[in-house]
Point group: C2
């Protein structure tokens, strides 16, 4: 695929979404550094609007629309964070949003979508059901799809998180992000590749939802149709576009077990006081479980989101 | 009392502790502003080292000691945050810390004290028992007491949080802090009084631990010996020094019920993704319950700490 998103697209996205997004802080923790044996820089997207990095991509996609397109409204499917992001971005642009969510999405994410005034439709918790339901709505209403990851504008928007991080910490050795559909890793890998040729980019997946690792190993797009992991934000497979970007620009995708994800989610809460969701904790697990050899390195990680159902914490189940 | 801590003491403390403390971020939230009807600036001390503002005061007290004094070690009593703060500050200075904690202190705070290598003694959960136990240790070992609030150096250290906040947001109308022993409110009131004569300072207490409000109303120091509130960090009464400072410099102390504290602690977690303890949430309750008329004002609040027992969240009890 020759028409991949570029670093220039990310720079354009950064200018476009700057008035709307939160420039999130970069945190460090001596305790994490000691435990991981490296210097870790946490880009804290739980503090992003709508509680996750997804707002960057949704905002870029929705503010890229022409006025004529925008009038038709937008439609999106998502386990939650992209749904909230699209709802908020659409409300900021003053247009309609139709949102498709799997019926097992966390209550807090459903409530978020409702609070931003989107039209909500539930579907079965499979990628196929999500895509079909969204397509049907698009056909019926004319609403324009905003893909959670497999779209140029989304990827370019997500890349702005890594862009901000690398402007603040230019000499990173590694950048590590979670992988679900691959939008964040795609944006980070393009950014790292352009801003610092020595910086390698890694993705982290739950063992029970390892479509990206499998796809890279097979060098062909593989789906995991019934992912099983507590990290509901990562229950997705790459798309053709994110696969092409990751194949070209990212170094490796590693996997971590759910037990490590729960342990390290709790660790981040206790030590760093940042409310992060399981999908974010995977990056810390990759460091603590030594899935990536980061000894002595400067490692940038994206804590991707913080939308957690506070009535159902994984260590209390 | 003529010998009160001064703004100059706070400036000196700021220079002394700067190499050791975290300069914490100031967060805002559109959702909070809408709900409170004012502009709120959150100084986020959960991200302070040892998880609470108490590290500022402990650090200032311990690094104010002469080498001869420091060699004798220090002793402190606390429900938790001051205990952790003294333990960490002592370990940074390389001296012994003896810590007295009530037997019902949260597990996470006990674990924190242990992790910093302090000598730990448990006592009954009353102010009298805490003070007597600490005094006995001091007498036996020669260790120098570091008071959690009723001491010049502690108050001056706590004042640096308000100092940083007001340097960043100079035109605050109000500054609002929790009140337990009154160290934070004392430091904030001195700072506000000096930096911006229009800025009024307020304290907030739980209804079940309202010694400061009662003392101001009676114009005489009143203790609440068996405080009942979920905000364990505020189960304390003013000392003579903090009473004198607050009486002179603070405008008012208001109270909020535990039901509001739990509701707003959860609100901060869900909307702001900052892990705050019940003792911090009181300031948000004062705004949301309109205990302070802040309509249209610029309001600085100190979120004081984030050391929460994650096995025992108040909305899941």
């Amino acid at each position: 695929m020759s028409d991949l998103p570029t670093f220039s697209d990310i720079l354009t996205a950064e200018k476009r979404i700057r008035p709307y997004i939160q420039r999130t802080p970069v945190f460090t923790s001596r305790q994490v550094n000691r435990k991981a044996g490296c210097k870790v820089y946490f880009k804290c997207e739980p503090f992003q609007r709508a509680g996750a990095f997804k707002f960057r991509g949704a905002c870029n996609a929705i503010f890229s629309l022409s006025d004529e397109e925008a009038e038709r409204g937008v439609v999106a499917h998502s386990s939650g964070n992209h749904a909230q992001a699209v709802s908020l971005a659409a409300s900021l642009r003053g247009i309609n949003a139709h949102v498709v969510m799997p019926e097992n999405a966390p209550a807090v994410k459903i409530a978020g979508v409702r609070s931003y005034g989107a039209n909500l439709t539930f579907c079965k918790p499979t990628q196929q059901s999500r895509e079909e339901t969204a397509a049907a709505i698009s056909e019926k209403t004319g609403a324009i799809p905003v893909h959670p990851y497999n779209q140029h504008e989304t990827i370019a928007g997500q890349g702005t998180a890594a862009l901000e991080l690398m402007k603040e910490i230019p000499d990173l050795d590694f950048i590590v992000t979670p992988v679900g559909g691959g939008g964040m890793l795609s944006g980070a890998a393009i950014t790292a590749n352009q801003m610092n040729e020595k910086c390698r980019s890694f993705g982290v997946e739950p063992e029970g939802s390892d479509a990206a690792r499998r796809s890279l190993e097979a060098d062909s797009l593989i789906r995991v149709d019934q992912p099983e992991t507590i990290a509901e934000g990562l229950r997705a497979s790459l798309g053709d576009l994110t696969f092409a970007v990751i194949r070209r620009y990212a170094d490796q995708v590693v996997t971590v077990p759910d037990s490590s994800i729960v342990r390290d989610m709790r660790y981040i809460w206790e030590r760093m006081k940042v409310l992060t969701e399981p999908s974010s904790a995977v990056v810390v697990s990759a460091l603590f479980d030594q899935k990536i050899d980061c000894s002595g390195k400067k490692v940038g990680v994206i804590l991707t989101g913080g939308n957690v159902d506070l009535d159902s914490l994984p260590w209390l189940r």
